[in-house]
Symmetry: C2
Subunit: 373 residues, 2 copies
């Protein structure tokens, strides 16, 4: 019954995409903190055609929950298309008639790339607690490896939302020469303290669940209640108060005293806990919280000092996970660094989730930016 509120929008006019591709790294993947996992597999997807001079490639960076499947359906019968299908498609914001889109499942995420729940060939058991704590640099590095593998020297543009937008900013700081333009939506150069606190609480809920067993819980088939609860906290931070009032108010489920919002949160949390992986959740979210471009580069302006491509920053006025003021700070730093930057603060009742809902508001500026390159 809650499908109507599901965040990913159903778009009927989608296309049939290729299955995911695998890049096997025999030498393994080396994490920022020094660990190496070998062998290591990176899963990615591509859509559209790479042109002859390889100048039409767009990288889409995914956020915490989704994976490399950002557009299309594997078969026409799939119930849902990829997670950003409203943006990526033929005639859409990132137009596949003229662009080649790449989306890479980053290390730590549970959707195909070697992850905490992957089997360690040395032991035949999941890596579990032994999987490294990833960083946003690791995410960018996995995307760079795929980029080189595909023979792409420079992305025409890179785009991402939420954590994906933080990856975009990390690209701008680490590899500015390899980016033609960037699109950063609902993200900032570090997570502000209120959002850090909610993230921390979410991780504590997982780690305090005795069934989590320090991360080595894969012998049990049951979804973790701690992960379900953490997702409820997460959902609350994605929704604006306006959306909560409009969708639920203080309404009860028919014939019961249960609040509708209660039923909704349990449903969304439960769905997530049966598919996502708790070890991935705590690692990916911690990576988000640890990223801090001010701290890492001395200042935001220093972080963006080598960036020469155009930048489009989009914030949403009801997003309190990444408030507009944080995005304005990036805008100011980029401007001082001489970057051609535009910041669009979009009024919407949809909070942080607007990047998965308000395509009529975010696609036109993205289209315009790409057309201007």
């Amino acid at each position: 019954m809650w499908e109507e509120w599901a965040v990913t929008q159903f778009v009927d006019d989608t296309f049939v995409c290729d299955p995911p591709k695998t890049l096997a790294l025999a030498e393994g993947f080396r994490f920022t903190h020094g660990e190496r996992i070998a062998p290591f597999e990176i899963i990615y997807e591509t859509y559209g055609e790479l042109n002859e001079d390889r100048s039409n490639a767009v990288l889409v960076c995914h956020a915490l929950s989704p994976g490399a499947h950002c557009a299309g359906k594997y078969t026409p019968d799939d119930i849902k298309p990829g997670w950003w299908d409203g943006m990526v498609g033929h005639g859409k914001g990132i137009d596949l008639r003229t662009h080649f889109v790449v989306c890479v499942n980053f290390p730590g995420s549970p959707w195909g790339t070697t992850a905490p729940r992957s089997l360690d060939p040395a032991t035949g058991k999941p890596y579990g607690s032994r999987y490294p704590w990833v960083t946003v640099e690791d995410m960018v590095e996995s995307q760079r490896i795929v980029m080189d593998h595909l023979g792409i020297t420079k992305w025409k543009a890179i785009a991402g939302n939420s954590l994906g937008g933080m990856e975009v900013l990390m690209w701008a700081a680490l590899h500015p020469e390899r980016i033609g333009a960037l699109i950063c939506i609902a993200a900032s150069a570090s997570v502000p303290v209120a959002s850090v606190a909610w993230h921390l609480i979410g991780r504590k809920l997982i780690q305090s669940d005795p069934a989590f067993k320090g991360g080595d819980y894969y012998d049990s088939p049951d979804p973790l209640r701690g992960l379900q609860l953490a997702r409820m906290v997460g959902h609350m931070t994605y929704l604006s108060n306006e959306a909560l009032e409009a969708k639920f108010g203080r309404r009860r489920r028919g014939g019961t005293r249960q609040f509708e919002v209660d039923s909704y949160l349990e449903y969304q949390g439960g769905k997530f806990a049966t598919s996502y992986d708790a070890n991935s959740y705590i690692r990916v979210q911690a990576a988000m919280d640890e990223m801090d471009l001010d701290e890492q580069f001395g200042s935001l302006q220093a972080a963006f000092s080598r960036l020469r491509g155009k930048a489009l920053l989009i914030s949403f006025d009801t997003d309190w996970l990444f408030p507009t003021a944080e995005v304005a700070r990036i805008e100011a730093a980029m401007r001082e660094a001489g970057v051609d930057v535009a910041h669009l603060d979009i009024p919407t009742p949809n909070g942080h989730d607007a990047f998965l809902i308000d395509y009529h508001l975010i696609n036109p500026p993205v289209q315009e930016l790409l057309a201007s390159l």
Copy 2:
């Protein structure tokens, strides 16, 4: 180290008060939902002197966390005074030189009145899961019983913050003829959905902790991690983002990578979990969420239709647990019902907790109201 951030302010110019008083009800207490616990004890405190015609009595209604000890110190050596000592005292907002103040520990709360952790004389064990689910009406009823016991016909005024303010509104609806004036601070006639959702999540954290054992956990001496986590969620809802930025930002604890806000939340949650009781927490908070004067009386205007005393409503512009708009709704309903009402929306960075911090802002209007009666 976190004492500096403790919510209750230290006030040195306080007085030595009487010890708590006990009202033993041999016939027991009958709860709204029909259960009776007998015998039953109600704990309350009084400060100041009741005048001859018993016309100077002010009821202070407490919120979720504290109890009947709202002002003074039992001995000069007490580290902290009562929880609203900044308001109640000699020469303070509710001036004990001219007023007699009563504060009643309500049923469900763990601070003395027969509670879930009290021993059931029939079994010699705590009531635990068998303790009834309380309502705000039950809280008001316990205060009415003490009022009658003290021979007070009409309160000169009643005052409360947060849940205490909700009790004040319930008094206005149930016993308007027994109130000379009301002071309702940081509260509304029902908890708005965003706050309900955070409350629900907090209760789920307790109830999902295996050590909670459905409420019969008293054989273990350990504090419940679920209660500690719930309190962390609660704390987040009490603090404004401004306060979080000012107090913590993204700062780390000296020499570590631990965020200061993390350390703060663990400290506050831990302190709470070792003193408060989980069965009380879930019952008192559920009572708060269940109260809905619109639903109960058909409309807010109907709820306040018999009220004739003056009303002072105070909201805080950074309180997102009880936003200003909710208080404005009460103001409008009271006005339509012909009540002499004033609504003060106070700008402060201190969020919901402002009623325990900003005495320089809330005492003057309270003083003024009492002087006008």
